[in-house]
């Protein structure tokens, strides 16, 4: 199982500033290893963030998002203490959900 995401969600004025660091190989399926064998594709295709039962971001990714993806975005309509839930799904049906409290 993959390592947990690092999620930081901070109130900046009336907005929540979110910074997420995921742990994922993000293999494109085009790279070859030392023996010249193609490393099979394995990357995150979908990321969703929810707060108070509402989707605040929905992202679709290709293989060209960098390894150990970083994602930052901002949204309104939440307060300190609310929970932000982030879920990703990858090409091998792997998935991970982590939660952070808005501070």
């Amino acid at each position: 199982m993959s390592d947990p995401m690092r999620i930081r969600a901070v109130m900046l004025g009336d907005q929540v500033d979110v910074k997420i660091l995921m742990s994922h190989v993000m293999e494109t399926g085009q790279r070859k290893d030392a023996e010249g064998v193609v490393v099979p594709a394995h990357y995150i295709v979908k990321v969703t963030a929810q707060c108070n039962g509402r989707t605040v971001l929905s992202a679709d990714w290709g293989a060209s998002v960098a390894k150990n993806p970083y994602l930052s975005f901002r949204f309104k309509g939440a307060a300190k203490g609310d929970k932000l839930t982030v879920t990703w799904t990858d090409t091998l049906a792997g998935t991970r959900t982590d939660e952070a409290t808005i501070s």
Binding site: Q30, R31, A59, W61, G62, S64, A66, L71, F75
Partner: protein, 154 residues
């Protein structure tokens, strides 16, 4: 490989479901892009935009697109898009010279700011397109990023 094929089929299936929802008018027009995995297979920008359901993109100075002029490591290139256009619904990042041009697409529900920052791979020096979908149409801006060490292959 069999397994990833299964995932692909699964994704294709869910795209089909969304198409049904579209017919039923349950989803707004721009949401069509959200389940479109086809766009990520495109090898040219016009084809990728078409697969995303976007047409007639116009260049706009109202999109703030930050990326380095020179990327020493193409495997990790920080990019940031901020749209100053009203009613921005989605943001997309496309790299002209990558094997598959579409890098990421972000759907922004109401209440989410038209801003996103991430890090992408850029295979070789290339124009990067930031595409913004709004209620008033599709807009884009570009930036040339020079890569001294490639982000793909090995």
């Amino acid at each position: 490989m069999t397994q990833s094929r299964r995932v692909f089929l699964h994704l294709a299936g869910s795209a089909g479901l969304s198409a049904l929802a579209l017919v039923a008018g349950l989803l707004p027009r721009w949401a069509r892009a959200v389940d479109s995995r086809q766009a990520f297979e495109a090898t040219a920008i016009p084809a990728a935009l078409k697969a995303l359901g976007l047409s007639d993109p116009k260049e706009s100075a109202e999109i703030v697109f930050k990326a380095p002029d020179i990327a020493e490591n193409g495997a990790v290139v920080p990019v940031e898009i901020e749209s100053k256009l009203p009613h921005t619904r989605a943001l997309a990042i496309l790299v002209e010279k990558n094997p598959h041009v579409l890098s990421a697409e972000f759907a922004l529900p109401d209440g989410t700011e038209p801003f996103v920052a991430t890090r992408i791979k850029v295979a070789e020096s290339s124009l990067i397109h930031a595409v913004v979908t709004t209620d008033a149409g599709v807009f884009y801006t570009t930036k040339l990023v020079k890569v001294t060490l490639g982000g793909c292959g090995g």
